[in-house]
């Protein structure tokens, strides 16, 4: 189990029960557990949806779509069964928040799935857990079994006459399956490749039925909103960005860890206060504010004091993404960081569409050669070109995820790329001790 950190600025909502033993269902009940779903049972579906809509809760997986609005797209009548899917396939590098929820508060997720089910009229939920989180599956399995044992799941839940079932499923280790439509393919036992939208999952989702698919943190937030009210939750955050969010601070920080902070919290404060600043008196070089797939922010951009919510981040030229905040100090080599980033996306490209499949491969090969001193000037432009050719043009957002950081690296740190040219050794090698990769071709 990961160590928990804390900071006075934190507003604990989703993380309220962290470290309180809420994995145990009885303890969870003591901590107001399963009250929200019982409240939901007394409400009309539209009431639940409106409540969530008004709370300003936006998808915590990265896209930031209004959750209540997403639920409202599910047709009331459907010939096929409806489904609630919990996306626990957390695999964006720099992101480790859902893992804590599964570890500390799995029943909140179950409750969130149930409430979503009641809101859209589904009777079945799936909790899909990332393949590498195998150990979390045991927690999830036990939590589901305990909920069944108490009669919270199954037929006639809380004597309401309603039925709700939840199943768990473990991934097989593909990043792509974190993408909602690929996750449905995976859950159906198929290759983890994305689906085209429209039709959206709300209309044609899992097994062809209307489906709500939400991130684990999103669903875990829902019970709190039901009990605390839409207004309370909305006011925790910034305009149109309701509530709080788990931020995963990592990199060159004195106090890395997962902190729950209000939406719209200052990035600068997050680094220098919550995260305890940069060790060894080093200077800040840049921050990747929302998981490895978003554009890096330079020290100047961070120091201009940008707020951590979906809209402000977009305005700043990056994205809030999955809440993974990766801090780089001035010893980090951007070329090497770009290589590390692209290596991941190349490895995880599902192989469905050409710009991503071939673009990430070409980028990786170029960056390996480049970082080992074999780069030539035209490589810099070519990397930019390859990334541009992916951005917005691939089948699914994985291509964007690979393209956005590369574009930002080249645009914002072109000089560092040029410093690697003409066979020069990596200027940061003495800091990182990075092994020089063999020159290819």
């Amino acid at each position: 189990m990961a160590d928990l950190v804390s900071h006075p600025d934190e507003v604990k909502v989703v993380s309220k029960r962290f470290g309180q033993g809420a994995v145990n269902i009885d303890r969870y009940l003591e901590l107001d557990g399963y009250k929200a779903v019982q409240k939901a049972l007394t409400m009309q579906p539209d009431e639940i949806i409106n409540l969530v809509k008004n709370s300003g809760l936006r998808g915590r997986g990265g896209a930031g779509f209004n959750t209540g609005l997403k639920w409202s797209f599910v047709p009331k009548q459907s010939a096929k069964p409806k489904y609630i899917l919990c996306n626990g396939d957390e695999s964006e590098p720099g992101t480790c928040k859902d893992r804590l929820i599964f570890e500390h508060d799995p029943h909140a997720i179950i409750e969130g799935v149930m409430i979503a089910g009641l809101a859209v009229g589904a009777q079945t939920g799936y909790i899909y857990v990332r393949g590498e989180y195998r150990y979390l599956l045991e927690i999830v399995q036990k939590a589901i079994a305990d909920a069944y044992a108490k009669g919270f799941l199954g037929k006639n839940i809380f004597d309401s006459g309603k039925t709700f079932d939840i199943y768990w499923h473990g991934g097989a280790g593909a990043y792509e399956v974190g993408e909602e439509s690929a996750l449905m393919e995976s859950l159906e036992g198929k290759r983890g490749i994305p689906r085209i939208r429209p039709p959206f999952p709300a209309v044609v989702g899992l097994w062809g039925g209307p489906t709500v698919i939400n991130n684990a943190e999103t669903l875990a937030s829902v019970p709190h909103i039901l009990l605390g009210g839409a207004e309370w939750y909305a006011n925790l955050g910034s305009p149109k960005n309701g509530g709080t969010r788990l931020f995963c601070l990592s990199g060159n920080l004195n106090k890395p860890g997962v902190y729950e902070l209000p939406m719209g919290y200052s990035l600068k404060k997050m680094i220098y206060e919550v995260g305890g600043g940069i060790p060894n008196g080093r200077k800040l070089k840049g921050v990747v504010p929302g998981g490895s797939s978003v554009a890096i922010l330079t020290a100047d951009e961070v120091n201009a004091d940008v707020a951590m919510d979906f809209d402000a981040m977009l305005k700043a030229g990056s994205m809030l993404g999955s809440g993974g905040v990766v801090v780089l100090d001035d010893t980090a080599c951007i070329v090497n960081f770009a290589l590390r980033t692209i290596k991941f996306y190349k490895h995880e490209s599902c192989g469905w569409c050409i710009p991503c499949r071939e673009g990430t491969d070409w980028l990786q090969k170029t960056l390996i050669r480049f970082h080992s001193g074999g780069g030539v000037k035209k490589d810099i432009d070519n990397m930019y070109y390859l990334a541009e050719n992916m951005l917005g043009r691939t089948f699914c957002p994985l291509g964007d995820a690979a393209a956005m950081p590369v574009i930002a690296f080249v645009k914002k740190f072109r000089q560092e790329f040029e410093d690697h040219l003409d066979g020069k050794p990596c200027p940061f090698a003495k800091h990182s001790g990075a092994q020089q990769s063999p020159v290819m071709a």
Partner: protein, 926 residues
């Protein structure tokens, strides 16, 4: 219709389609890979990107994939937009990263979609400087060659193989740029449609392995419009020749029949044409020695045999052209014109004709579009294979109606499949044994032919109480059949049938009736496969009952050979009567036209027939048991070497044309003409060309009058010019025979068609029946068919080739009466039925090495309960006796066979001439 604007100009397009389909229909050159006209859009390759603008004011626009974007009213797009052009170029560049650039040694070179698209996008310089990824290739059988390094991962192969053709043993493995398309291990591809991978693959990953043995570039081949001869469906093909050898067969698009796909028997069965066993010049047998004789001498000898005969018996052929059969009939007279087929088969063929004349008939395209299907007695996958592929699509029709409601366009292939999931439209398979369509069937019923017929009669009666025969409720008793529900799980694994409960039989008939009656385009499929008149009649009755209920129902019947119906229409009499004539008369001369009698009739009867005749003349392609007995043998041209007309299973007359011009070999009608002229029948000398024969034919047979319209006459010219059989890039013509004579010979003259043996001629699109090959400017691959169609995947310009001889009747025909009695299994005896094999049951294709390799060994099959009862085990050598002959083969256990039924693979040599169905004991022999 919708108006879309392409680069500022308005165009009328089909609003139900996507922008790629619309642009290609309009004739624009927009590159693509993952999209295929028959497979729809999935958006994988990103190659067809265009710029779309929200309004005329929108100057910025955004890139969209044309294949994934509806051609909606007012859509404004630009193909020429610089950003779109640059992006498309970048996509090809990405594909070319790992493509080996081995075009000079690649079989696809010169007809490669990837080459075409590369040129089209303007990508001409390789900037990628890193090593390419490599794969290990697999052995995939005798037909399909695998070269994975060339793969650009467009996913078409796996989509065709699994999703379209239902194959299970081929898939995509791995991820990122290591996605691998193949089998889990080396081995023969199981699907009988695997050969289509050659055309589906946009580059050289899957190529024709048979072609590899005698490889020739597309541009160096001489093509002809032709018709497949390996079953009765009449798929259109394009055979390619060079140096007098047939090099390969590829699909020739026909909007109503084969569309874009062939079966592997049709594609790879061609090698018999190049066989060592070919009869290449006239032969005479004297003193037990077979010797070649000069053509003229043989003709004169033949003339003497005819002139001296008291009676001349002509045996026609269901695999010979209408013209050759007609020539024989004219020569020997109607009274002495026979089919090699038995009375039983001819009766069935005449019954088929009767039904076709009085019932709306479905083309394969109609089969595909049917939304509820009942198959009575036919193992479609093995008997008329291409039809099985169409049937597989028919089960998508009802799901389409469901996805239409969700507003998912039908071309958005994966979205449709995700929404439809496992939902399939009704397809009921009532057959003697398991079939390879059972996996998509709603229900399967297995029973004896009579039981299958009874099911059909019960369905008809349920639909219309006026229909004759038994009512569902009277179909009681212990029916020797089994109903297998949820067949996907248990196909072939069901318990041995021991009689279906009556209630099941009744409810099944009701379910079928309900499904057919509830459909918009119901279809019944049957045919000669189980050789049962009652089954054919039952099928017709179901269609008639549906028609009386106001349903636009159709029928599709499978027939044994490529010209079975043509021969029947010429009034050929059964072999038994030929035998009687031969026995009664002495001094007869018998002419066997392209017919190995030993495959048609019991060997003892054939022996008697051949011995009774005074002189025997055979005309055929290859040496066989019948030609071995002939005194005089003439080398008859195969489909690839001749012109003629075939009548397919729907009653469509289609013309095929010569691709090869072998020296001594000529069409059977020409040999017959020459022989009869030599015998003093001067009137036949009027037949100078094929059109002369056709003219006689249509005046003699008003029924066949439309045959003349099956294709334009030989006098047809396009702007005064002939149509070239050779592509414009045909190379080396002047030097091809320089090793023999440095003077270039004059190209052969073709009096029979308006096609020339040259690359010279009119380069424009000929009438559909005369298109020798698909090729268009910038489109060197099979994808060039886009350029020949009125609309993408629609009919060819000017209408699809061929002419239907039967017009749909104004009203439903009369019901057939006489429903069969219940099938009664017999103690100690089995009803032996024919079992078909796509590779092995057809006479000509089995002479091709690849098909031979995949043909079954002889066996005798029965279910395990039977075998146990008789104390038999798998692989035991057993014997059965039918028609005075006994047959020994290893016992095969087939749990799917019903009680009282045994099956043997027809077409394999051991069972040549066996007359089925027939009763026999089956006993173990040591």
């Amino acid at each position: 219709m919708a108006t879309i604007y392409v680069d500022g100009k308005p165009h009328q397009v089909d609003a139900q389609q996507n922008l790629l389909h619309a642009c290609l229909t309009l004739g624009f050159n927009l590159p693509y890979f993952c999209w295929h006209p028959a497979l729809g859009s999935v958006g994988a390759c990103r190659q067809c990107a265009v710029k779309q603008f929200r309004s005329p004011e929108d100057k910025h626009g955004r890139l969209v994939m044309a294949c994934m974007t509806p051609a909606s009213e007012g859509a404004q797009i630009s193909i020429a937009d610089p950003e779109a052009v640059a992006f498309r170029k970048g996509i090809i560049e990405g594909m070319m990263e790992n493509h080996p650039h081995d075009c000079p040694v690649c079989d696809e070179g010169g007809e490669c979609h990837l080459q075409d698209m590369t040129v089209m996008t303007g990508h001409d310089y390789r900037r990628y400087e890193f090593p390419k990824r490599t794969f290990r290739n697999q052995y995939l059988g005798p037909f399909v060659n695998h070269e994975m390094n060339r793969c650009i991962q467009c996913y078409r192969c796996v989509r065709f193989y699994r999703e379209y053709a239902g194959g299970q043993d081929f898939n995509v493995f791995g991820i990122r740029n290591l996605a691998y398309f193949g089998r889990h291990e080396d081995g023969v591809l199981e699907s009988e449609f695997a050969g289509n991978l050659d055309e589906v693959c946009p580059t050289g990953v899957f190529t024709d392995a048979t072609h590899k043995h005698h490889y020739t570039r597309k541009w160096d081949m001489q093509f002809a419009p032709s018709i497949c001869v390996h079953c009765g469906l009449g798929c259109n093909i394009s055979p390619g020749e060079r140096y007098g050898m047939l090099r390969r067969i590829v699909n020739r698009y026909h909007g109503d029949i084969n569309g874009y796909f062939l079966c592997d028997r049709g594609r790879y069965g061609y090698e018999f044409v190049n066989s060592e066993q070919r009869i290449r010049q006239p032969q005479i047998r004297s003193n037990g020695q077979i010797q070649p004789v000069p053509k003229q001498q043989a003709i004169e000898e033949g003339g003497r045999f005819i002139a001296s005969a008291t009676t001349v018996i002509g045996i026609g052929s269901s695999r010979a052209s209408l013209e050759s059969n007609f020539a024989l009939r004219m020569a020997v007279g109607a009274n002495h014109f026979f089919a090699g087929a038995s009375t039983q088969e001819l009766q069935l063929l005449h019954l088929t004709l009767e039904i076709l004349r009085t019932t709306p008939v479905a083309s394969l395209r109609d089969v595909e579009d049917s939304d509820a299907v009942l198959v009575l007695g036919e193992d479609v996958s093995n008997y008329a294979p291409r039809m099985a592929l169409s049937l597989r699509q028919s089960v998508r029709q009802q799901p389409f109606a469901m996805t239409d409601k969700l507003k998912i366009p039908r071309w958005l292939d994966h979205a449709v499949r995700e929404a439809a999931q496992e939902h399939k439209g009704p397809l009921f398979m009532a057959t003697v044994a398991a079939t390879r369509l059972d996996d998509v069937a709603t229900d399967t019923y297995r029973g004896a032919p009579d039981e299958i017929a009874r099911l059909g009669y019960a369905v008809a009666r349920t639909l219309d109480p006026e229909a004759a025969g038994l009512r569902a409720t009277t179909a009681s008793g212990s029916l020797a059949g089994q109903i297998v529900r949820a067949v996907r799980a248990v196909t072939g694994l069901g318990k041995p049938p021991s009689g279906a409960p009556d209630a099941d039989f009744e409810t099944m008939a009701q379910r079928i009736a309900q499904a057919l009656n509830g459909a918009e385009r119901p279809l019944v499929i049957s045919g000669l496969g189980c050789r049962s008149g009652p089954v054919l009649k039952a099928a017709a009755n179901v269609v008639r009952a549906l028609q009386r209920n106001g349903k636009p129902a159709r029928i599709a019947l499978a027939v044994p050979e490529c010209n079975s119906l043509g021969l029947a229409m010429l009034g050929a009499k059964p072999f038994e009567e030929a035998l009687a004539v031969a026995r009664e008369h002495s001094g007869t001369t018998a002419i066997m036209l392209e017919n190995d009698l030993y495959r048609q009739a019991p060997g003892s009867d054939v022996d008697v027939f051949l011995r009774s005749a005074n002189h025997l003349i055979a005309l055929d392609h290859l040496q066989n048991r019948t030609t071995a007995t002939a005194e005089l043998t003439f080398p008859a041209a195969t489909f690839a070497e001749s012109d003629g007309t075939l009548v397919n299973n729907e009653g469509r007359a289609q013309r095929f044309f010569q691709a090869l011009t072998p020296q001594e070999i000529q069409e059977s009608w020409r040999w017959l003409r020459d022989i009869f002229v030599a015998a003093g029948r001067r009137e036949f000398s009027a037949w100078k060309t094929l059109d002369d024969v056709i003219q006689s034919l249509v005046s003699e047979f008003p029924d066949l009058a439309q045959v003349a319209e099956a294709a334009p006459a030989a006098s047809f010219r396009m702007a005064g010019e002939k149509i070239p059989r050779q592509p414009h890039r045909y190379s080396g013509r002047t030097a091809m025979l320089a090793n023999i004579n440095v003077s270039e010979p004059k190209p052969p003259d073709d009096p029979d068609s308006s096609l020339s043996y040259s690359m010279e001629g009119n380069p424009d699109q000929p009438p559909a029946a005369l298109i020798p090959f698909a090729w268009a400017g910038g489109w060197n691959s099979y994808q060039a068919w886009n350029k020949f169609q009125e609309e993408i995947a629609g009919p060819l310009r000017g209408g699809n080739p061929g002419v239907r001889l039967f017009q749909p009747p104004a009203q439903a025909g009369e019901y057939f009466q006489d429903a069969p009695k219940r099938f009664q299994p017999r103690e100690g005896e089995w009803l032996v039925v024919p079992l078909y094999h796509v590779f092995g049951s057809e006479e000509l294709s089995i002479l091709s090495p690849g098909v031979k390799q995949l043909s079954p060994k002889p066996y005798i099959a029965m279910n395990d309960e039977h075998a146990k009862g008789a104390g038999l085990q798998a692989e035991d050598m057993v014997e059965l006796a039918i028609g005075g002959a006994s047959y020994r083969a290893a016992l095969q256990i087939r749990p799917d066979l019903p009680v009282g039924i045994a099956g043997v693979p027809v077409g394999v040599d051991l069972f040549a001439g066996i007359q089925l169905p027939a009763w026999s004991k089956i006993e173990r022999v040591s």
